[in-house]
Amino acid sequence: MAYKPSQRRSIEIEPTEPNLTPIMNLMVVLIPLLLSSAEYVKLGAIELNLPPVAGPLTQPAVLPFEGMKNFELSVFIMEDELVVRSDEKGVLDKIYLNGDRRKALKQLQRRLYDIKKQIPVYYKNTNSITLQASAGIKYQVIIDVIDAVRVYDDQNTPIELFPDVRLSAGIL
């Protein structure tokens, strides 16, 4: 006598899909939240050179003739003024920092632009400038001056001034 087959066996278990709607809703909320809370800063870099070391001469000094000379220009950054100086002519200009640093830097750029235009053609290197500052000058001010001496932004037309910036180890 055969047994009757069980009825439970014939019941097919249908696969059920998980309900993803609440998770999707959570994602939709979380992603814009994370995106909005993140802050991005675009990083850049300014290349810097150290001034050549002045040491004792090991060979007899050779007097530089005009075609070999570099145009040596310096900007001294002090608490209340910027001093532009060339090795040849001494102090060329003094720009006073009376509160508005941006205005003073524009003035510096215009002065450097005039100097750049008037550099005699026989100089070998006319792109370098040396910066020196007082002890308490903040790093942001140094960067502002570096920014100003490299490029003159005249009515959205950048003009190259002195892109080869050297930072002097000496403190005023």
């Binding site: 300014i46 810097l48 150290l50 920014d147």
Partner: protein, 142 residues
């Protein structure tokens, strides 16, 4: 759904990394500059208000540097920083000899915008002395 999980994990990772950066940001606020080049690859030197880090490892306290504390600062050189940089320079020179990877003395300085010039000079002198003369000052885009 899978793409959502990937995006979420990516954002969470970015967020946590950014969180670490934010906790440092109180001390490290990069100066702003208008004209800049791309950040070059090099050794990373971070100077916050409190500490000097080389490759994320603290090497000296800024308090000692600012006040020229004798064992830490000698003749304008930050001694612990010099030791660490010199070690990296030796390693790089060994790599150059062994594998031909050229050592160009490149270093990226990420310093706080409120750092005084006299302290910046000490750090730069130290870098120069440790043969890292190819310096790049990291700045934020204005």
């Amino acid at each position: 759904m899978d793409i959502f999980i990937i995006i979420l994990l990516f954002l969470l990772k970015t967020y946590s990394a950014h969180g670490r950066f934010l906790s440092q940001e109180k001390d490290l606020q990069l100066p702003y500059a208008k004209f800049q080049n791309h950040v070059n690859i090099g050794l990373e030197l971070v100077v916050t208000n409190e500490t000097i880090f080389v490759e994320k490892q603290p090497v000296a306290e800024m308090h000692d540097v600012v006040y020229n504390k004798p064992p830490i600062v000698v003749e304008g050189i930050v001694v612990p920083l010099y030791k660490v940089l010199y070690k990296y320079a030796l390693q790089a020179q060994k790599m150059e000899k062994k594998y031909g990877i050229k050592f160009n003395g490149s270093i990226v300085i990420k310093a706080n915008k409120n750092l005084d010039y006299k302290d910046l000079v000490k750090i730069m002198q130290t870098c120069g002395k440790a043969t890292f003369a190819n310096m790049h000052l990291a700045v934020a885009n204005q």
